[in-house]
Each structure stands twice: as structure tokens, then as C-alpha cells.
Symmetry: C2
Subunit: 175 residues, 2 copies
């Protein structure tokens, strides 16, 4: 019951204070090793329809999947450093060998729409903490196992909700 209440409190848009302390927001790794994800403003939790804002921390050696999406995405690096891998030739049958870009504290970048990309904490000494802005939630994402996987084999995940477990909370707890 306690766990059910805790879970519900991560899902309800009602009853949330207008001003929220980010350090008190729920965080989870959503099954991804080395990740801490906090939804600062999200469609399910906060009723956002046009933008979402996330705070993500990657332990040394951890990374996002290789993926692409048609929504816009802006990153701000708050702490640490790492590498952005970006395949700009997504017109081909597969993403192909990506370009590498060093990312660092107080840097920003945005991902060209539909380009396959991956953010990797390649700094073995420090966490990488980033703010992520995306448009038009929920994200419709194509996930690749490697850079030479054909686009036609990429795994579609839609809707990609961080808080999708909210949809599995039974409407009537008493049953």
C-alpha cells in the first residue's frame, strides 16, 4: 500500500505544489544502469503538452542508447564531461560511423532533427549531469543496437514515457 501511494504520487498532476524543489523530485534509473532520471516538467506528471524538461545524471561509462527522433532536443551540461556521438548522414540505410564531439560543463548543443545520436559519459572520474529539453511530448524514438543497424531494424518505442508505470496504476486501488 505504501508503495502504491508512493507510485501514485509520482503520477498525479493534481496536488503538486506550483514551486517544486528539484532535489525532492522522484528519480529513477528506469532500468538503465548508471542513469538517474528526474522529470522536472513532464506530460504525464505535470500536464505539459508542448515541452518536457529532464535532469539526467550518467555515472562514468554510462550512456544513452543510440537513437533518433523527430522532435527537437536541447542539452545543457551542468556537471562533468563526455562525448556526443552524432551521425548526420541518416539519409543512408543506417546511421553509419558517427562524428565525435567533446561536451563539457556549461556547454550546450541541440540535435538536428532525425539524426541518430548518443550521449556518453566518457569521463571515468566524474558523473555527467545534463538538462534535456524536448518538444512535442511524448517522444517517438527509434533505438539502434549499433551504428550500422539498418533504419528498418531500429526498434520503435512510442510513446516513450519515463513515467509510463503511471498508466499501470489501477484506477481502483480497492479492487
Amino acid at each position: 500500500l505504501l508503495s502504491s501511494i508512493a507510485e501514485a504520487s509520482q503520477c498525479s498532476v493534481k496536488g503538486l505544489p506550483l514551486i517544486r524543489n528539484i532535489s525532492e523530485l522522484p528519480q529513477d534509473n528506469y532500468g538503465r544502469g548508471g542513469l538517474s532520471h528526474i522529470t522536472i516538467a513532464g506530460s504525464v506528471m505535470h500536464g505539459m503538452k508542448e515541452v518536457e524538461l529532464w535532469l539526467q545524471t550518467f555515472a562514468p561509462g554510462s550512456a544513452t542508447p543510440i537513437h533518433r527522433h523527430s522532435c527537437e532536443e536541447v542539452f545543457v551540461v551542468l556537471k562533468g564531461s563526455g562525448t556526443l556521438y552524432l551521425a548526420t548522414n541518416s539519409h543512408e540505410k543506417h546511421p553509419g560511423k558517427p562524428q565525435e564531439f567533446k561536451i563539457y560543463s556549461n556547454s550546450t548543443f541541440h540535435i538536428p532533427v532525425n539524426d541518430a545520436h548518443q550521449v556518453w559519459n566518457t569521463n571515468e572520474h566524474e558523473d555527467l549531469q545534463i538538462l534535456v529539453v524536448i518538444s512535442r511530448p511524448p517522444v517517438k524514438v527509434f533505438i539502434y543496437e549499433d551504428w550500422f543497424m539498418p533504419h528498418t531494424a531500429a526498434k520503435l518505442k512510442f510513446p516513450y514515457y519515463w513515467d509510463e508505470q503511471c498508466f499501470q496504476v489501477p484506477q481502483k486501488d480497492e479492487l
Copy 2:
């Protein structure tokens, strides 16, 4: 000539590096006392179509105008503290007396669409630094001189570009 080059460099989406150091981005007060505004990702400078991201610093005592807009807006307070004034009864003929909310470092909030609001650095000892996310640029904003100005008298500003001077750069410098 130097100034013309500097100005053009703030306006061109071309030639910008993919990874940008936020502390090296152009900042301006755009005629508003106490403000420092940096467009981290914008429609004019970076070709964003669905979201913009700004970094704004308010000196003690400075504030945004009282305003409302139909786009979504999310704030993250990075440094300092202050007050959010929010009139949620915008159905009336004027915004009316706003509610006051204390905002503080590492807090977040979003503005209900079309509610009149104002962010004020009411801390006389410290700058207030905020990250601002907005959807659907450019912003179409209605500006109020006070909370009891009728909606019909609010001043419409559209498009509200921070970098609107970019549109005034002559296409052909040599003429």
C-alpha cells in the same frame, strides 16, 4: 564594420559550432534594466522551431514585465531567490491581484497557459539566475502595465524575438 560583424555573428545560424560554451554566448539587456539575457537555443540564431531555451540573470530589484502568453513556459532557478507573481483568474476583464510564490535556488515551476505572471528578484543581496524553456517560438506576448489593466488594453508584442535586430541587418553590407 567591427560592430556589424559582431552583430551578424549573433544572428547567423550558419558557422556556429555544434557544441557551444554558454559563457561565451552573446548577452544583452535588450533595453531592460538589471537584465542579462542569453539565448542558449533560439529560433533566429539556431533555427529552433519548437522550443527555445534562455539563460536570464536579474539584478536585485529587477523583474520581467507583467505578461501572459499561450505557449508553455518552464523555469529552473539556478541561483538566488525571488518571487513569482501569478494571477490565475485571467478569465476576468483584467489579471487582478496575483498570488505570490517564493522561488529559490534549485526550484522549478511552469506557468499555466495564458495566466498573467511576473518573476521578480526580490532578494536585495543576490542576482537571480533562471533557465527558461518556452514552446512554439516566437513568443506572442501580451504585456500589462499593472495587474488591473484590462486585457483589452494589454500591449501585444509579436513576434517577441530577443534577437529581433537580426532582421534589421542589411542583406548586402556593401551597399
